[in-house]
Amino acid sequence: MIELTGLTKRYGEKVAVDHLTFTVRPGIVTGFLGPNGAGKSTTMRMVLGLDNPTAGDVRIDGKHYADLRDPLKYIGALLDAKAMHGGRNAYNHLLCLAQSNGIPRSRVSEVLETVGLTSVAKKRAKGFSMGMGQRLGIAGALLGDPEILMFDEPVNGLDPEGIHWIRNLMKALASQGRTVFVSSHLMSEMALTADHLVVIGQGRLLADTSMAGFIRENSRSYVRLRSPEQERLRDVMHEAGITAVSAANGSLEVDGVTSEQLGELAARHQLVLHELSPQQASLEEAFMRLTAESVEYHAHSDGDRPEPPGAGWGAGVQQPKRKGV
């Protein structure tokens, strides 16, 4: 169990993590979702005692990280696949971690076997592909056979086979009753693995809900209609007690009525339809809506043009100050 209470990290004026309070429970995979720069990695570093919180508290099974005796036996983490000395071979990389926590040497070979790196155990890590590095990082997390596992963006840079492997591994670890906390910026990835969802944006907690609940609330299904006689269509639906909402692209969106019913209604009134299509809002859209307010670095859309390049010498030096939105 990982408990965060009012966890806050400030870098000067900038707030990276803003009063986060939530609990990561055992037996399930908890997805930690947020756009890039939302504060996921900073939060995870604070869980491991690597970064000091500006305020608030984080506890592992009720204890502060620094008070854990042989912490790798409580919590294993994959923070950054490249966090290893490239000149050291895979076996020795794991061995030095194992020795520091009094973990027997035999366990090193075991975890290498688990992640499928036995054949390259004596190869130096700098020759490893991204996927192999990720596997070695996961081997390090599993080393102490910990009850809590934390993975920061574990599928980054993995091929489909590797992604599949990691998903199954996380589910298997959770089904053994372990606490699994995994971060991602991809909703679709989380939908496949997580049972519980914690969403943050700009360091603030936006949602703390079960995956099933999130899907129920956010996967809205509706019907999109377009007609050259939009106003009449609206009136006809209004008489039938159906409320339509105008969408940005000039179409109408209707909730809670099937496309069949709407098509028959239009036929009865001899209305011409240019579109009649059932739609399902994706979880990705739901996630984007949720975090839209908090996305720190918006791509410039049409309405929000970048400043025209300044005329004259040195204009490029004076970057316009970018404020958080």
Binding site: L50, D51, P71, L79, N89, L95, C96, L97, S100
Partner: protein, 256 residues
């Protein structure tokens, strides 16, 4: 967290990277090789020296002449041992495994210093005996007064140089920065400050200038240093203590 576990872990770390072997063997080879070379040259030049120089001729110190260059490899060793953690990102794994940052740093420094001491002693004794063999009838004997102290001191000097570098690297974290500060300092700045008469009063308290006094058996002409061989080594040890303490304080409060 048993400290022995962490010591074991640091021993595995240090012996499983090639830079350890590279830097330490370079330190030994350069120190011994250059010492031998300069001993040969000194013997050939001895007849041409002034009476005063002949009087101040220190065969023991001559055989350590390679130290000024060999110590640079020791500096690289000390810097790499610490800064490798930062340049590779390994530091986050290391501190997650050993959150007691003092235990982590001092275990690392203990293992690296023990290794530097072993290599330093072998290098110092080898430099002495090979150098004396080249000096022929000018040679000093290990039993002569002050000679054993100077030879043991040579090993201690190399160890302290490595330790000082570890302390500085702990403070600066970046190996480029640490080497960029230490190399010019020990190769150029300290020798100049310590030998130019205008700056000598201050320069003689710099770590290498004070520390190398331990390797002298005969005081050089015009030497008026206010400290003896052990006093000099103590001054150097204070520099080392300050660097390591600085590294420890910063490691404790910084985000990794």
């Amino acid at each position: 967290m048993a400290a022995t576990q962490v010591l074991k872990s640091e021993w595995t770390k240090i012996k499983s990277v090639q830079s350890t072997i590279w830097t330490l063997s370079l330190a030994a080879i350069v120190t011994i090789g250059l010492g031998v070379l300069i001993s040969i040259l000194s013997k050939n030049e001895f007849q041409k020296m002034s009476a005063q120089d002949k009087l101040a001729f220190d065969p023991t110190f001559v055989s350590f002449a390679g130290m000024s260059l060999g110590q640079l490899a020791m500096i690289v060793f000390g810097v790499l041992v610490v800064s490798n953690e930062y340049s590779t990102g390994m530091i986050r794994m290391s501190l997650a495994a050993v959150p007691q940052r003092g235990t982590f740093l001092f275990s690392k420094i203990t293992i690296a210093s023990a290794l530097a001491l072993a290599v330093g002693m072998v290098t110092s004794f080898a430099s002495f005996f090979l150098g004396q063999a080249m000096l022929g009838d000018l040679r000093a004997d290990i039993g002569d007064p002050g000679v054993l102290r100077a030879v043991v001191g040579g090993g201690l000097y190399m160890t302290l140089i490595a330790l000082f570098s570890m302390g500085v690297a702990s403070m600066l974290r970046s190996q480029v920065l640490a080497l960029g500060v230490l190399m010019p300092f020990f190769f150029l700045l300290a020798p100049i400050l310590g030998n130019v008469s205008a700056t000598k009063k201050v320069g003689q308290y710099l770590p290498d200038q004070a520390g190398s006094k331990i390797m002298q058996v005969v005081a050089p002409a015009g030497d008026d240093a206010p400290y003896g061989p052990w006093g000099g080594l103590l001054i150097m040890a204070l520099w080392v203590a300050a660097a390591v303490a600085g590294g420890y304080v910063l490691l404790r409060k910084r985000d990794a």
